[in-house]
């Protein structure tokens, strides 16, 4: 009797297989991302009421919360990919981590910018050295450092090794950014907007479009990382072919 063929996850660590698979996957993910983003943002912007305390500024939540969520989770995805590189030496995982960094950085910048814009009328200041804001700023600096380190080292494997270590260290700040409000019960930033505790969670009227918007940001992140990983794989292959040409 023929045994059923089980495809290992590691099959996708093969660059050729990764590109073949994402050829089919990428248009669907990109389309879904666009649908969710447009729906979530239009729903939130046009069809939700003002908050009784924050007025119309509550509409910023549909960008601020998803981008902050992705800023932290992008780094955690980079951490997993870096660990896979350190343990199993799969090039695609190192390149996926490299591909995710600029996306994570842009999410962090959006979260910081919208937070400052929102904070000005609500807190009376653009910036405060609050635990969450400060750990987020440090995370931003880690993103810049990570991207700069990849760019500074010519040998891809050495760059992957060193950036993986940097990613491990930076993960402390990614976790701090998420839980800073809980660790230090001080500062201006409020607790989590999404919570299992009904009293803490935002009202349903804001919650549902927020969920759609978060789905849009998650899918946008996946689509961009897939696209950029394909680019990194091709760029690496180009460098390898050129190096081989020079040696002949």
């Amino acid at each position: 009797m023929k045994e059923p063929r089980v495809t290992s996850l590691w099959t996708y660590a093969n660059p050729k297989k990764f590109i073949e698979t994402t050829d089919k996957l990428l248009p669907w993910v990109a389309m879904l991302a666009l649908i969710c983003l447009v729906t979530g943002l239009i729903w939130g912007f046009f069809f939700t009421p003002d908050d009784y305390r924050q007025g119309a500024t509550v509409k910023i939540i549909y960008i601020h919360v998803p981008s902050a969520l992705m800023a932290i989770n992008a780094w955690l995805m980079m951490l997993v990919a870096s660990l896979v590189w350190i343990v199993r030496r799969h090039h695609v995982s190192a390149l996926a981590a490299r591909a995710a960094a600029p996306v994570g950085l842009v999410m962090t910048l959006i979260a910081l910018a919208t937070g400052a814009i929102w904070g000005q009328p609500m807190w009376g200041t653009w910036w405060a050295w609050d635990p969450r804001l400060t750990s987020f700023l440090v995370l931003t600096l880690f993103y810049f450092g990570y991207i700069a380190l990849w760019a500074a080292i010519e040998n891809d494997d050495t760059a992957a090794d060193l950036t993986s270590i940097l990613c491990l260290v930076g993960s402390v700040f990614a976790v701090l950014s998420r839980y800073a409000v809980n660790f230090w019960n001080q500062g201006l930033h409020q607790g989590a907007s999404l919570s299992l505790d009904e009293k803490e969670n935002v009202a349903d009227v804001f919650y549902h479009p927020l969920l759609v918007s978060i789905a849009g940001f998650v899918l946008l992140f996946i689509a961009l990382v897939l696209l950029r990983t394909r680019t990194e794989i091709r760029a690496r292959r180009t460098r390898a072919l050129l190096a081989r040409e020079r040696m002949n």
Partner: protein, 51 residues
């Protein structure tokens, strides 16, 4: 357009900054992807023709 009252500038600025950053990132990613793909095809062709 909803009535954003005295916070119109705040809300619109937040959306504008975010959309510019997202669209910029998407645009840069797509342009680089196309450029690198073409580069690889050209190098591949050259390597094959050189034997």
């Amino acid at each position: 357009m909803p009535d954003l009252g005295k916070y119109a500038d705040t809300v619109l600025a937040a959306y504008a900054v975010s959309l510019v950053l997202i669209l910029g990132l998407v645009l840069i990613s797509v342009i680089r992807s196309t450029r690198v793909k073409k580069q690889l095809e050209a190098v591949d062709k050259k390597v094959k023709s050189d034997g």
